[in-house]
Amino acid sequence: MTVAVEKPPTPEPPGPEDAVPEAAPAAAVRRVSRRVVVGAILVVWLVLFAVLRGTNTLTLAAADLTDLHRWLNDVYDSIGANRNSNPLFLYFFNEIRLVIDNLATFVQHLISQPSDSRPLPQIGWLGVVGIAGFVSWAVGNWRVALLTVAGFVFFGLQGLWQESMDTLALTLTAVLVALLFAIPLGVWVGLSDRVNKVMTPVLDFMQTMPTFVYLAPLTLFFLIGGASATIATVIYAAPPAIRITAHAIRSVPETTVEAADSLGATRWQSLLKVLLPMSKRTVVMGVNQTIMAALAMVTIAALIDAPGLGKTVIQALQSLDVGTAFNAGLAIVIMAIVLDRVTTAASGREEAARRSGGRFLARRRQLVVAGAAVTAVLVYLSHTYVWAAEFPGEGSVGSSVASAADTASTWVQDNLSGLTNAFRDALTNGLLNPFQTLLTDSPWWLVGAVLVGLGVVLGGWRSGVTTAVCVGLLVGTGLWSDSMTTLASTLVATVMTMLLAVVVGVWMARSTVADRLIRPTLDAAQVMPPFVYLVPFLALFGATRFTAIVAAIVYAAPVAMKIIADGVRNVPATTVEAATSAGCNTWQIITKVQLPMARGALTLATNQGLIYVLSMVVVGGLVGAGALGYDVVAGFSQGQLYGKGLAAGLAIVLLGVMFDRITQAAARRAGA
């Protein structure tokens, strides 16, 4: 086979005459030629880069603005000026904001913020701890109740009671609103194929976007503050609940629905008596996902002035105060663990309860009443007495945690800096810098052409067109250079993530012990809000691009590992057995059987890895990763950069869409 053309389109499908007998060789030819084409594209790029370096790079200094950015600023200003006169705002956006704001404020007044006449919230720490413990016990079991009580008391000891309660209040509000929409919508999506067809791409899109980018446009309509934060959280947290509810409804066995039909059930009866009860357990899992997503988002929403732990972390990150950031990050982690455990226990509980029979139920009812009474007393006490309302102590545990973290980070910097810096510098100078230079110093049209070419080769014509559109729009945002910097970090981080994920994933798939040991850690890592990952790496690597990249790798690796492990494990045992009996050694089995057969999983893992990395690299703007992430953050804090921040958010979306389309198209090909 000869590939002389420089950028040929996807190789022609084999002709009909040789298709049947030579299917396998034809496929091999196609794969090799695709690889060669990619290589050819890269070589041409390097050659042209050497010649054209530094021309048409579209760089834009940090404080410079383009017309688009100024125009967006004007839009923002005019919206600000007409917020209370424009009917659309007066009767629509403002109303929504008012309702959400009132709801959020109401919950905040209950547990976190002082209300008008009182110096303290309505329910003090004792009451909150009581309620949390009681609810955890009632929906879960006494073990998670203990965990909850311990966790909540620890917030107080950390000196972060109010911040924690702010985070909790916003999370709960957002979850409430999200579920109010998501569950009925999910049922509808589950019942109707047509609605499903419409909603699936919308949900895909919503979930592809890095959390971050919801914030910018929302502030345009709902102002910076709690309401925007809550709405952004609702938007981010609703899709998993919708999806899981729909999935639950769809996976009710057809026979069961048919049986109800054959007994003459109306649609409503089969919904209420068959579909909903049978999907209850899965829906509770959806609630779990929603809560975790909401918590992650609420902390990030600190960027638009949402109160709570996220704010503490961000302020500490911006002043490079590792100790404080660690303390608050720890609180976020604990809250994530508590919420996750409680909802997981809730989804498992029903099963256990109904098995244990009637006598237990009767006793349980008495216990619930007694528990409720005790809780009521605690709430009353915390409403009435200061000692039960205000968490006692100065948060000394928090200070010790902070200083311990500081000491540790200083120690690490003093003693390991040689190692960490060497690692950082090697990677930065060896891989990141050259790659970034290649991307940013090439003429934009060259990079664009390369991207479109790769899109076509890897994903087919349609993804090529999508890439072309995205490239065009990226240029239009005026942030081409920043986008390329972010792209460089993202790609480097993704490559590292995939290397790590393939090694660990294959290991997990081949060894049950490894899987049993690693999987819980991965599960735990996935519930963490993204930017708690920044804190330890900030201590290790200081405020650089590299910190963001390492945090991104750690953030994205768990999901990629799990996908690869599952993909490799799904390779039929007989195939592996056949390879073994043919005399393959372990390495041959992995490289020639398991990985090629898990190709679909590998591309899917790349897709997820890219999206996760992108969202983290952007958050890395907080700790000196610069580029698009910095533009967005700066846009929130400085009025004249607002438009630029919005454009940067758009650029992130475009990068996300581009990655997603190419990898998904490639995954479809691999699967076919």
Binding site: T255, T256, V257, E258, A259, A260, D261, L263, K273, M278
Partner: protein, 363 residues
């Protein structure tokens, strides 16, 4: 291959004779899946195509093609065919769980295809019920609540439906399990729950869609006997779908054999074995132990002059296996007599030809 609807020779006590009017009468029933399915039954040309040709021409699949049959009151009517023959679609069309494309289904004088949603629900609640291959039980409800489910849907009060449900639970032999959950029961017991749920509403007709295919052979036999017992106790009309010929022969008063959506033959078990309509049916019944199915009517021969006509008498509907001993013990050929009229005679040779499994054409 034209469907053959043989005249039914009266067999051991078939309830055929109880009443002339059928409970269910199906005429020209079609179910076509695919785009613009309606045109297929209307067009004579399309009707004539094979399944494959129809798929290529129109993109449609005809699951049920021009099926017609009657089910008499109290009868167990079995529809048999291999997978993909359209039998499950057929039974779903009868209660319109799948909407038929053409034809009529007359139940107690009413064309079910004309029923609106409300009437259809009423029929399903009061007149029909169905037992499914994969049970279709509600895992979150106890056995007794599953059994009472149909009654609950009708709006029956709690106390009343529980009382009825417990009766039926006992009827199907599940006493002591009423408070268990379905996943705590074995497959056979789960299907008993399905059966009880179907019986609870006192329907006129029970539909069974391969109810025992998912069960182990021994349990399947138990359940078949259970159905026979229940049929004796409650005398319901039953339409039973199966892919298992021995099950069909064991349970069915009459059997309809389907292939590629068309009916191939409809008749009693001994008719299928004794007079298969075509090679397909012949192939099907090849391995059936003929002595268990065929009656003397099928093996008797006309008497010739040298036959002694003073041997013992037997009826024409006696199964060969039951007659074997008597025929062999008698010194002279056995006379087959119906209402005092001599139909033919059966000697050792005829009996042995069947019992020894000799491949003789059974006429």
């Amino acid at each position: 291959m034209t469907p053959v609807q043989t005249e039914v020779p009266q067999r051991r006590g078939t309830p055929q004779d109880s009443d002339g009017t059928p409970v269910i009468s199906v005429r020209g029933l079609w179910k076509v899946f695919g785009p613009k399915a309606d045109r297929v039954p209307e067009s004579e040309e399309l009707c004539g195509l094979t399944r494959r040709e129809l798929m290529d021409r129109t993109g449609c699949t005809a699951a049920v093609r021009d099926v017609h049959f009657d089910v008499s009151p109290g009868e167990v009517f079995v529809v048999m065919g291999l997978s993909g023959s359209g039998k499950s679609t057929l039974v779903r069309c009868l209660t319109r769980l799948i909407e038929p494309t053409a034809g009529e289904i007359v139940f107690e004088g009413e064309n079910i295809r004309d029923a609106d949603d409300k009437r259809l629900r009423e029929l399903r609640r009061q007149k029909f019920s169905m037992v499914f291959q994969h049970f279709g039980l509600l895992p979150h409800r106890r056995v007794v609540d599953n059994v009472a489910f149909g009654l609950e849907i009708r709006g029956m009060g709690r106390a009343e439906r529980m009382k009825r449900a417990l009766e039926v639970v006992e009827l199907v032999g599940l006493s002591g399990y009423e408070n268990s959950y379905p996943d705590q029961l074995s497959g056979g017991m789960q299907q008993r729950v399905g059966l009880a749920r179907a019986l609870a509403g006192e329907p006129d007709v029970l539909f069974f869609d391969e109810p025992f295919s998912a069960l182990d052979p021994l349990i399947r036999r138990d359940m078949q006997n259970e159905v026979i017992r229940l049929h004796h106790e409650v005398h319901k009309t039953m339409v039973f779908i199966t892919h298992d010929l021995s099950e069909a022969l064991k349970l069915g008063d009459r059997i309809l054999i389907m292939r590629d959506g068309k009916m191939v033959q409809c008749g009693t078990g001994d008719e299928l074995v004794g007079a298969p309509a075509d090679d397909y049916v012949r192939e099907f019944v090849k391995d059936v132990p003929r002595a268990d199915v065929l009656t003397l009517r099928w093996i008797m021969r006309p008497p010739v002059d040298e036959d002694a006509l003073d041997g013992p008498e037997l009826g024409p509907d006696v199964v060969v296996r039951e007659a074997t001993r008597a025929v062999l013990a008698a010194e002279k050929p056995v006379k087959v007599v119906e209402n005092g009229k001599l139909l033919g005679i059966v000697g050792d040779e005829e009996i042995l030809a069947v019992v020894a499994g000799q491949e003789g054409d059974a006429r």
